[in-house]
Amino acid sequence: MFSAFRPTQSRLGGLLWKSPWRLSSNQKYRHRQRLRRVDRIVDVVDKALAKQGMTATAVERWKSEMPTEAEMKPRDKYTMFDPKQKSYRKGVHKLPKWTRMSQRVNPPGF
């Protein structure tokens, strides 16, 4: 049962990499922390600039276009648009480098 030659999916079929269909609750928790960290950084940068009486285009644009973690719906937090899926959604963890990327909004109409 535990031998080196046990017949598992990957041994029988060759290359098999599986990633779970949905995020675990702990993954979701860590994902929320990451979203909040980005929100906090934008906030710190914005406040520091405001103190000096300055603004930055990138910061203003982010604030007007992107929802904060609290404003986002669970659907947008944990899933993203995918034209190939029947439901047009897939888990956000399917996005390459998803822990170091910002994926917050949907294309218009979705």
Partner: protein
Amino acid sequence: MASVAPKMSWFKITLIRSGIGMTERQNGVLKALGLRHRMKTVYHPVSPDTAGMIMKVKELLAVSEVDKPLTQAEIHAKRQPPKGYYIEKQGIAREDIRGS
């Protein structure tokens, strides 16, 4: 418009996620900020230029606003553990104890 110029402040920027595998553009920004490896801390003056650079790689950083920048030597000294002992100087320590 403000008659008194606001006090200058700095961004304390630490790279907490690696830039490996990120785009050329983002790695270029990290290089421009002087962040060569993880847990490296740099100080940059608060300006729209710096803000734009931070925004480009915000997922990889920890950022805070500070009043004055530390030098590399000061950052290094802060990271050293306590020695576990101190050298007593004759007379001085004793005076302090009596006084208090």
